[in-house]
């Protein structure tokens, strides 16, 4: 079964500070769709370097949302993009979709 996004890391950092949790989730909800759009725009025209740059940013959010295996996939994909290969694209985009759906529920 595929791992699912969760708030474990955020709760670990917050030490029970709900205000911070809401603030951080708000930032992620705001930043993630923008970064996802930037990624899609760059990968669509196969701009490898800019795609790798935005994957680098997105992978931090992947790790914040507790997706350990997905984080490894993102690391490999970023590396592949820097080598001008799109190997791993499908897996990475499936991670983005899972996060998109998760963010709609919180």
């Amino acid at each position: 079964m595929m791992e699912q996004p969760n708030l474990s890391y955020i709760q670990g950092v917050s030490c029970g500070d709900k205000t911070f949790e809401h603030k951080l989730i708000g930032i992620i909800k705001n930043e993630f769709p923008i970064e996802k759009q930037v990624y899609i725009a760059n990968i669509t025209c196969l701009n490898y370097k800019l795609s790798a740059d935005i994957v680098h940013k997105l992978k931090h959010k992947i790790s914040i949302l507790g997706l350990v295996k997905s984080y490894e996939i993102a690391i490999c994909y970023e590396h592949n993009l820097l080598e001008k290969s799109i190997e791993g694209r499908e897996d990475f985009e499936s991670i983005l979709q899972r996060i998109t759906e998760f963010l709609e529920t919180i």
Partner: protein, 236 residues
């Protein structure tokens, strides 16, 4: 300790800010989304500690450190563990935190920063590849800057934390990265044909399937780099 946070991601700034708020000895004076804004701030304010992201557009964390005079203590924050060796070249860097940063690891870094009292200017990074004129490249080997004539280089190979630079007359082992030397070599002459190899196109003897013969070395060409290599050849 008065501190500032430099990171282009709002998410990262918020997390570091929260981690700082749990440390009574830390006082966060400001958060900056890029190095340039932080430099402006530092021109008129003194801080004891900087949380600095490495991977930022236009101006990296290392560019930032190289720019400021007498840098305060710096804790690097990054998603990429591959810069650790480069970080050790700077006396001002007290720790290196890989994202996502856990509260426990953060506390450890703060303790280190509190213990380290003396902070020096950055020493010369032993891995640094310097350039002077357009045709020379200076490499730092055992504290000596050795001049290499760029057109004489026919092959650069990445070997762990080192690069192996082969020239017509001599070979050099330099503590650096392929990326760093790639940035210093002219695109018109050099091409990365594999994640571990950069070649001088003028020195190619022949190409067979997925390998290139250059001098006596047979170098693999990765599938993704092959189209660019073919494009650069004067094919009949």
């Amino acid at each position: 300790m008065n501190s500032i946070i430099i990171d282009d991601e709002a998410t990262a700034r918020a997390i570091i800010g929260q981690l700082c708020s749990n440390v009574p000895s830390l006082n966060v004076l400001g958060e900056f989304p890029n190095a340039m804004q932080a430099i402006k701030y530092l021109n008129s304010n003194e801080v004891d500690l900087i949380f600095l992201d490495i991977h930022m557009p236009d101006f990296t964390g290392f560019d930032f450190i190289d720019t400021i005079k007498n840098p305060p203590k710096i804790i690097l924050t990054t998603s990429d563990p591959n810069f650790a060796i480069q970080a050790f070249g700077y006396d001002c860097i007290v720790d290196y935190l890989v994202k996502p940063i856990t509260p426990e690891r953060f506390q450890k870094a703060i303790k280190k920063a509190e213990v380290i009292k003396s902070v020096a200017v950055p020493k010369v990074d032993s891995s640094k590849v310097e350039t002077s004129s357009g045709s020379d490249l200076y490499v730092n080997i055992d504290r000596r800057l050795i001049k290499i004539d760029i057109p004489s280089i026919y092959l650069v190979e990445a070997k762990g934390d080192y690069i192996y630079v082969k020239t017509e007359n001599k070979n050099y082992t330099v503590h650096s990265t392929l990326k760093k030397i790639e940035d210093r070599l002219p695109d018109s002459l050099f091409l990365k044909i594999h994640r571990s190899f950069i070649i001088n196109i003028d020195k190619i003897i022949d190409i067979e399937d997925n390998s290139v013969l250059i001098k006596k070395d047979v170098i693999p060409v990765s599938r993704s780099n092959r189209p660019e290599l073919i494009k650069r050849l004067n094919l009949l």
